[in-house]
């Protein structure tokens, strides 16, 4: 059998196992093991535990469970509610203020937590019922939380960027810095869209005869606004410390993640009074579950790519891609289409681990900056989180608001998917949006 046949067989077997219902980690490991058995010398099977160990024996991977711990600890507090309340009181004068407040609440929470579903869950629990109460359509309310939640992997810290950095040997610190401006800008664009959509709904409500909650006026005094700040201060300080530590390089990203995690544990126990075993054990178990899930995918995906590399599938595919002679932008376009399609079915971690080894040579050969591409890839992964049928954030929303139909949620996220697609085009036209901040530190 030639490389092409083996490659197709491998891909087919992987899809079969992935859709069989096996956990993604074990599906990837299982197909790797089977191909080692049939197509590779038996010494590879004998080495399997050592191969797994060699992948996990990596300083940079430490960053992942630490940021997960940080997110889990903060998620256990009232931080999300406080954030939400503060954003609402400060922004109430804007059209669609409540929606805008939710988008910004998501952004700030995203800055504390490396995961999108976690951001979505924390902010949605508060925001969706509130927006529905005030007359927002179910589509808009769920769509903006699902989309706002995806900012969790763009605004640093970001688990996706960590894994991308490990695979492509780019500096995690630099990737994080590069995510700041695109993350904030995307949040602003989301907010603008929400303002427009809310205004449109308000117009529709005015035209209708029924009294809508949307039309009720609200007012907050300065005192009411100011009193929200002290409760947010500890977290703002923590985020600031982590970002400054990253930007100023007090330590490697893993060390900074350690400081962030220890700091957030201290915060939630000392200030938010989360010190009972009942609360702490939730934090510990939640951290164990999520980091184990991600680390297992990383370990097993490594076996998967090892087999692809050993059987020369990766190299042949990369050569084939480069040999197509696509122009720089056509290559980027098709890469993004591929990522988008995969994003419909697979979580970001699995996609990055499986695909980057194949597409990266072409990206570099075309002259794209790997840091810039990391950000574009992440935005593409954000889209995957809200595309059906497999979109983690959609399921989170479905869990928070079980009475809202899946169809409505999907209609709600559509405009945001389009926005993100256009946003990638914008970043391609103006790469400085990504590169300006990291270039400052040169």
């Amino acid at each position: 059998m030639g490389v092409l046949e083996i490659g197709l067989l491998y891909l087919g077997a992987a899809l079969l196992l992935l859709f069989s219902g096996m956990p993604i980690a074990f599906a990837l490991g299982g197909v790797a093991l089977a191909f080692m058995f049939f197509f590779m010398p038996s010494s590879n099977l004998e080495n399997i535990a050592e191969t797994l160990y060699s992948e996990l024996n990596n300083f940079t991977l430490l960053t992942i469970p630490l940021f997960i711990l940080m997110g889990a600890a903060i998620g256990k507090t009232r931080a999300a509610a406080d954030l939400y309340e503060a954003a609402h009181r400060w922004l109430y004068k804007l059209p669609g203020s409540l929606g805008v407040a939710n988008v910004f609440g998501c952004s700030v929470f995203a800055a504390m937590c490396g995961s999108s579903p976690a951001t979505c869950a924390a902010m949605g629990g508060m925001g969706i019922p509130e927006m529905r109460k005030r007359g927002y359509s179910e589509e808009l309310a769920t769509g903006l939380i699902a989309a706002g939640g995806t900012l969790g992997i763009l605004i640093p810290p970001s688990l996706t960027l960590i894994i991308y950095g490990i695979i492509t040997e780019q500096s995690i610190g630099k990737l994080f810095i590069a995510g700041v401006i695109p993350g904030i800008l995307l949040a602003v664009i989301f907010a603008l869209w929400v303002m427009f959509a809310a205004w449109r709904e308000k117009q529709a409500a005015r035209a209708g005869r029924a009294a809508s909650e949307l039309l009720k006026a609200e007012f907050f005094t300065w005192r009411q606004r100011l009193e929200t700040l002290p409760r947010l201060l500890p977290f703002v300080v923590l985020i600031a410390v982590v970002m400054v530590a990253l930007y100023d390089g007090w330590g490697t990203p893993s060390e900074v993640a350690g400081v962030g995690a220890a700091g957030s544990l201290l915060l939630v126990t000392a200030i938010y009074g989360v010190w009972r075993w009942r609360d702490l054990k939730e934090i510990l178990l939640g951290t164990a579950r999520e980091s184990c899930m991600i680390m297992m995918i990383i370990a097993m995906a490594f076996l998967f790519t090892y087999v692809m590399s050993y059987l020369h599938i990766t190299q042949s595919m990369a050569q084939w891609l480069v040999g197509l002679g696509l122009s720089k932008w056509a290559y980027l376009f098709w890469v993004n289409v591929l990522l988008l399609v995969l994003g419909c079915f697979l979580p970001p971690v699995a996609i990055i681990l499986m695909v980057t080894p194949v597409i990266m040579p072409g990206i570099l050969a075309a002259g794209f900056d790997p840091i810039w591409f990391g950000i574009v890839l992440t935005i593409n992964m954000e889209m995957g989180l809200i595309t059906p049928p497999v979109g983690l954030n959609l399921f989170v929303i479905n869990g928070i608001a079980p009475d809202i139909g899946f169809r409505q949620i999907m209609r709600g996220v559509m405009p945001f998917i389009v926005i993100m697609g256009l946003y990638i085009v914008l970043l391609a036209l103006f790469p400085e949006i990504v590169m300006w901040l990291p270039d400052q530190s040169k």
Binding site: M40, P41, S43, N44, E46, N47, E50, T51, S54, E55, N57, N58, F59, T60, G165, E169, Q170, S171, I172, G173, K174, D248, G249, W250, G251, T252, P253, Y306, S309, Y310, H312, T314, Q315, P357, S441, K442
Partner: protein, 315 residues
């Protein structure tokens, strides 16, 4: 005719082409091309640069059990499993490229070959590479210059000597050295001339100490072959593989030396001060190395003392 046999070569260095790029990658490509030519295509090679198949350290185990055929491998990486091999990156032990190359026919070389073959690996090409120091604050020539500095030694033995000289050895993954130098997590980093260039540390360093004169950093990074794979070759192929391996030693030495020179040029171009290590500074380093890394090696490795004596006796 028989179908060609495909052998896999892995290494951890940046990939390029046969004429351009990191000389360690070029050397592997030259080896592959020459063997393929001389065996009339009976032996073909797949080259995996930049650890794209096996992680740097684990290449040893993969060759030992036969799942990897060849590697250009810093032998001291296997020191955790075969402690004798730490001698391949012992500070201030090898004093020049020529002396390093003479190990091959000296008793120390024969002993190394024996140890390595016992573990299932063969040495094809003897390659040594020198290294230097990039630093932020002040020039580093003698041991007195490193007191209190956060220093990436990059290996166990180097860390031991640096610690004995009063530095604080710091562990930083290689992808973060650049940032660590920029931000001051690291004051100085020690590695091969080639890597000092490819890590682009000149952008943040103010000083570099090259290996043009003396250096305490010589690393043995031979082309190795799995004995299991070697034994599967025909006697004729085995002969070709050994001959081509040996024929590349001159290229290795000249390229390594050229990079020592290039290191100075690149850093100078970036506006950094370039320093060289003189005989007197080297002697001081050697005293410290003897009392720290060498001593540890003598104590911990069963025949360590004998191995060091054999190495020192190479003229």
């Amino acid at each position: 005719a028989q179908a060609p046999k495909v052998l896999k070569i892995s290494h951890q260095f940046p990939g390029g082409s046969i004429d351009e790029g990191d000389f360690r990658d070029r050397m592997v490509r030259k080896f592959a091309a020459e063997v393929e030519k001389r065996t009339n295509g009976q032996l073909k090679f797949e080259i995996y640069p930049a650890s794209s198949l096996v992680k740097p350290v684990e290449q040893w185990g993969a060759m030992a059990n036969g799942s990897l055929d060849l590697s250009l491998y810093p032998l001291a990486y296997a020191g955790g499993r075969v402690p004798e091999l730490n001698i391949g990156l012992m500070p201030a032990l090898v004093t020049s490229y020529e002396q390093g190359l003479r190990w091959k026919d000296a008793p120390i070389g024969k002993e190394l070959v024996r140890i390595v073959e016992e573990k299932g690996v063969k040495i094809l090409t003897w390659v040594w590479q020198a290294g230097g120091i990039a630093s932020r604050g002040k020039p580093i020539v003698g041991p007195d210059d490193v007191k209190g500095l956060k220093f990436r030694g990059g290996s166990k033995e180097m860390d031991m000597m640096l610690k004995a000289a009063g530095a604080s050895p710091t562990n930083v993954p290689s992808s973060e050295i650049y940032n660590a130098m920029q931000s001051g997590v690291l004051d100085a980093a020690l590695t091969s001339s080639t890597s000092l260039i490819s890590f682009r540390l000149h952008e943040h360093a103010k000083h570099v100490t090259t290996a043009r004169d003396k250096t305490f950093w010589f690393m043995f990074e031979p082309i190795l072959m799995s004995k299991a794979s070697f034994d599967k070759l025909t006697p004729e192929q085995q002969k070709i593989v050994m001959e081509v391996g040996a024929s590349l030693e001159k290229f290795g030495m000249e390229s390594a030396r050229a990079d020592d020179q290039k290191l100075a040029e690149v850093y100078k171009q970036a506006g950094d001060a370039v320093h060289d290590m003189n005989e007197a500074a080297f002697a001081k380093w050697r005293d410290i190395a003897r009392a720290s890394a060498w001593k540890d090696f003598e104590e911990k490795v069963p025949n360590g003392k004998k191995l060091l004596e054999m190495a020192v006796s190479v003229k």
